[in-house]
Symmetry: C2
Subunit: 197 residues, 2 copies
């Protein structure tokens, strides 16, 4: 028996946040075991990264909608997560909105990382929104997932200055670097009981 | 003839930002001369602070409205500012919305400091809004004043972490400390041509 938290990671993209979490699990700084990596995109990089780290990885068909899971898919995700034994779910670039049945199945156990200082710039391409607005400081936010879009309780925020010479791409890159530090550190504090919700 | 910028400061409160600007003018770090301090509150601390620093200070009746200037008051403010020779106007806790005629008279020459990282938490008591929301980072923003509420082009932002033990009052205090550094430094960069609008 391990006293590590059983963690599932859901993502749709390259999987760089998964890598930061997997490394933190491996070096002991994050007291968790990644029991499942699931993606709604069959050829997503995150599934390859999971395989490289020897983690169980699974494409689960998201169904017929573009921005959420259909009913059958929601059931398939909840079933797979339950079968994996996952106690917590970390979203890492998962591009689908999670709805009532999923959130009820993992009540107050779903976290996300968002590439802005929420509540500023919720939604898509937050780094581009911030760059276009002209802010001088942005960053990333680890928060609980609730029924709203990027509205849940904030657990931690990392600040990234916007430089005069930044493009949306260079800014996004530095925000991601901050994410790779903030996400594992915040989950560790959460699982160690240092953050109360 | 001085090559210093002639600056007017408008405020409704204690005047701590005025003091930071007056000190920066006095020590030469802000290449400006404060030619008028005006307030819509007859017994505002900012008028006493102005007198202490030997600055021309004037109460100008704001008229019959609570959150803006009435037409006669707007004319009185513009007249007083013109008579002072002011080239730029710095708002420092001025609790009235400036409208079209005022902004046309000082087009792109009015700046404000707001106690949050805009666009998050515009409007009143922004430090309390941020504390109540539960953000982990907030701060202050120096921005151009346009017709919206706290929507103008951002010139600079200073970040202030929110501590677990913060109350709205302690957070407000630390944001104000950051303001007292950020405001004179940003105006200096603006007047030195280091910031282009």
């Amino acid at each position: 028996m391990s006293d590590k938290i059983k963690l599932a990671v859901l993502g749709s993209g390259k999987g760089s946040n998964l890598v930061s979490l997997a490394k933190a699990c491996a070096n002991g700084s994050l007291p968790a075991e990644i029991v499942l990596v699931a993606s709604d995109v069959a050829d997503a990089g995150i599934l390859e990264r999971a395989a490289e780290y020897g983690l169980p990885a699974k494409f689960i068909d998201p169904g017929k909608f573009r921005t959420k899971l259909d009913e059958a898919a929601e059931t398939a995700y909840v079933t797979a997560l339950n079968e994996s034994g996952a106690e917590w779910v970390a979203l890492a670039g998962f591009m689908r909105i999670l709805k009532g049945d999923f959130l009820r199945a993992f009540e107050k156990k779903v976290v996300n990382i968002h590439p802005s200082l929420l509540p500023a710039f919720p939604g898509l391409e937050a780094w581009k929104q911030a760059h276009d607005y002209g802010v001088k400081a942005t960053g990333c936010t680890v928060h609980m997932v609730d029924h709203g879009i990027d509205t849940g309780t904030i657990l931690a925020q990392g600040v990234v200055p916007v430089l005069d010479e930044d493009t949306p791409t260079t800014l996004h890159h530095r925000i991601q670097q901050e994410e790779h530090t903030l996400y594992p550190r915040t989950l560790a504090r959460l699982f160690n009981g240092e953050i109360r919700i």
